[in-house]
Symmetry: D2
Subunit: 339 residues, 4 copies
């Protein structure tokens, strides 16, 4: 951390800052510049709230140097993390691009089995579907609950696809683990720290979606919570951020893919469905995500989007999905990835 | 809802849209304009996902007309909601501006009792303090848990202040209700719908903080979840939103105060501490919030901010708080409010 | 336009709104819904400020239906616009992806000729370079002015590359037209309407960069200014938008590429250099842009980025550019484009 | 500037960075921490593009320490700048809050004289009105041009109000100076550096509006351009920024008022009209701005907003303005300001 002193700060104020730095167990180096004096505070004390120094008189600002995440970073582990979705399942994080697809919500048994068969045929490795739905409005469809989980488990039996479903609350962990292979933490819960600890204390892989206004650092700190609690099988997922743009529901920030890959060993997928909010943008942004280096895609597919009970504007149908997969494989090959 | 047809859409496509609208139980009105044909779909079917129509061929876009919230709106209840913080406690939502203050985290008994006495003396009506802390980093101070709640309860006994503390997970509801008067839902949990339902199913007042990228509509829908579950005592709180600004931790969006008051009967407070992230901005933005019409303030006060374990850069000390309260009372009087 | 009346509005207020609508030369249709009455106002009066109706009593809000741009849209011209960069030059908007490259600023003759030869060899069709630099700080390098333009013209003679350079003020139009083939309007000037008219009144192609907080509608309206003034040769360019993200200088919003292509006939390029702000992100985001359907790329290339006088952190060197071009051609082929 | 080396960087890479730092004329201090080695580069070389170092191998990131603005900062001038709007006019930056009001556009002589008389009566010190209008759409009303300026000058003669009008292009400077007292640089031109230099080279005061996505640093750098060109009479104006919020046209970021006052000597006004975009929010946000410490307000007032040719949704009428002024004076008194 660097403490930047105000231009008109006094010797006494500088001494006080040095004292505070040393109380924190850090070593201080004073550098007198042409316009500013700065105090470099050296030492690894991630638990401290260094913002405290900002309150000392004569301090202009605090500049952090060290990233606050550690076990999610390449400093600690240089080789890429590869996550097996289920005991007999496929991998995310290898050279092969993995695609997880399925309806926004599990609506009925027939719908789900039909979609599962179609996406398996088209090359997906995982089936997604919400049984408990986090809807902005209490009046919207809230999901089939455990019945939806049973349908998902049945679809796995029939297709071999790994089952991915969202966890909404700590008390559901056990129930979800009974049916699902991968637990998803949704964007709205990325900083629900109790939930992060709970999925960290069990062993199924976790698909962690980026919060809609999360910085890269906050995203990696959320992964850090899970890893620290004991679970190394974390898959990150970019799903669009909230900006002023209004032609789309979210702005898909693809540059986070290479940016994450530079500092972290965790695999990162992209969700072009929530990442755009409109079915007509899904194919193009899927191809772009693969070209940007994503380790996989999460795509909503519904047998009849015009009658979907949730996320209807952004789901594609099985035929569109199959075409997307064919085009995606060509782009994957062009960037030396398998798919 | 208005369905806007594409300029080159066909008669068949229009007929199909009308059919979909009527399948939804809505009545359709076709209006042929100079550049566009639109279908106005009339009826109150908030549960439907009208986005489904966007997938129909020939549709350019869907324009919603009705706000999705209802019980939080003035349409349903015109008189202002006034919330009593505790059985013998003060009100939020009346002409009198209510101030809730206290440390970010409960750090120790002595610290808490000292602050409680000081803010009571300065005119606060509630004491805030975190016992379970939602920290971005797993390495940061995580709170004293139940011990912190006991200190809060002791402070209430000594001062009569209503106790406000944050709820992080459904399983803590009972424990918190034992000690606290008001349950706070933090910004990161504004769309944790399980938590919203849980606080809706008990009777203590709820302080609902705006999510850092929540629209006004999403904010009111979160309140709607709580009210629908049975609890009408909801207090809203603006606490800064995430934008590109970098001189502050969050951008305090004060115009949401009069905007909410135009459409909703719920009281709305402002948190200038998180809303700016810097102690030197807290006083000015407190005065601005009161001038903008806020029903109250939530302010972090720590006996020694330079040694605080969390949120250190943004807490003010008891003396600064007392000065703030004196200035605030003058501004309140200038806008015909008591304080 | 749809005028939504307040739930408690009166008959008199509705009549007044209808009168205002008709004063505007529009036809009104009243639709009485279950919760709201709306007035649909029909007619093409783009010049009117319909916001005026928001001030009428009893009005809740105004919902526009028609996009405000016209000549930039597919409604008026369905076939894609293809722009020839110079009389003997290559095309943007055809099936072939066009790449414009070169240094941020023209720094000296030797530097420029060296880069020009290198990018020509690697397959670029245009040479970019700033002679007048719009720098955030008055202390930063401001460009070589006309001397820089002469070097650019010399580079064209030697390589045949089309010359692209930024126009900063109306009085420079003539000078720039003497040397350059394509006039660039920078992001900071996207709503400098005098400049837009000025480039519209001459005949050289215009490369119009998206403003860093411009909506899609504002971006197309800026193009509309140029086309309306007489110049149809407009090339759009996405170059990153301002968001809360802090690992990059801007957030490259690639989904605007397919979104623009859905509503407009204008070609759209992508600038991954400004769009990310970091050299290590340029290659990946170039590939993603091509996969997303971009008609071309604008990339900063400097012979020695470690000593560049401007935008140093984001420029790549000629060798990195050549590798990028090779990879890009493979991705282009995978999406059935030439390059 | 601090150069942070990567955790696995080599001695040779560190030596190369030190060499680059010294080539820049800066002194280097190496600090070896527990997790990172950093190079502190000391010296005042604002003209350099220090980003160049980011390209050196082994560099993780560059952290600037010094703010890039200088003459706009308190480091150079501690006493507050007070600007006289016209030779016989009132001041901005003194203890007295100054209000500039008037229609968005000058529409006709009668309208303007009527509004001028009304706002003078209510206590305004300046009359604003656009003669050349920067409209997002080429189809919108573009202003009366020089005729509008003549009406403004006539209004000054009749009322003594200082005339404030927007400058759109360098070639208009002379014409505007003939009629107006204060030249306004609009939000869309905040980084039109040619225009900034042009107003810096003449002597009339400049009202510089914040760009809608400008950081505080960019805002002060724009002021720095003007001051550096020779004109010290710069008045800043916050007018709302672009965020995801959709209940308002812009998010009024009031905390920039105290934040600017902490680092700069320049006066800062607030424009609640553009800062919200809705007439019903103007009064409340005017009061909040004054409580936040603003040196003045810029407010759009139109005799008949329902028929305004531009910005119709956000203008208030003379009667509403008078009420606002009365309330504002009470808030001003409560924060020890005159009005």
């Amino acid at each position: 951390m660097i403490v930047v002193m105000s231009p008109h700060s006094t010797k006494g104020q500088l001494d006080h800052v040095v004292k505070l730095v040393e109380e924190m167990g850090l070593t201080s180096h004073i550098i007198v510049g042409t316009d500013r004096t700065v105090v470099a505070a050296v030492g690894d004390k991630r638990m401290l709230d260094k913002g405290a120094l900002e309150n000392a008189e004569g301090v202009e600002k605090i500049v952090p140097i060290l990233s606050p995440y550690k076990v999610a970073s390449k400093e600690v582990k240089q080789e890429k993390t590869v996550v097996r979705l289920s005991p007999s399942g496929a991998l995310i994080g290898s050279n092969r691009i993995g695609v997880i697809a399925g309806p926004c919500s599990v609506e009925d048994r027939q719908q789900l089995l039909e979609v599962a068969a179609a996406i398996k045929e088209a090359g997906a490795i995982g089936l997604r579907g919400g049984a408990f739905k986090p809807r902005s409005s209490p009046y919207s469809f809230q999901g089939l609950a455990e019945k939806g989980l049973k349908y998902l488990a049945e679809a796995r039996e029939k297709t071999g696809l790994a089952i991915v479903t969202e966890l909404l609350t700590v008390s559901h962990v056990e129930m979800l683990c009974e049916y699902a292979d991968v637990l998803q933490i949704g964007a709205r819960n990325m900083q629900n720290f109790m939930l992060l600890k709970a999925v960290g204390e069990q062993s199924k892989p976790v698909l962690l979606k980026r919060g809609m206004s999360a910085t890269m650092e906050e995203f990696l700190l959320a992964a850090e919570y899970i890893i620290n609690a004991g679970n190394k099988n974390v898959i990150l997922c970019e799903r669009g951020i909230r900006t002023f743009e209004d032609y789309c529901r979210n702005t898909l920030a693809l540059s986070i893919v290479p940016a994450i890959q530079r500092v972290s060993h965790l695999p990162i997928m992209v969700d072009p469905t929530h990442g755009t909010g409109h079915a007509f943008l899904v194919e193009r942004m899927s191809l772009a995500a693969v070209a940007a280096g994503a380790d996989g895609l999460v795509i909503e597919v519904h047998p009849d989007p015009q009658h979907a009970l949730s996320d209807a504007a952004q789901q594609i149908d099985p035929q569109q999905f199959q075409q997307l997969m064919e085009k995606m494989r060509r782009v994957a090959a062009a960037v030396d990835r398998q798919a």
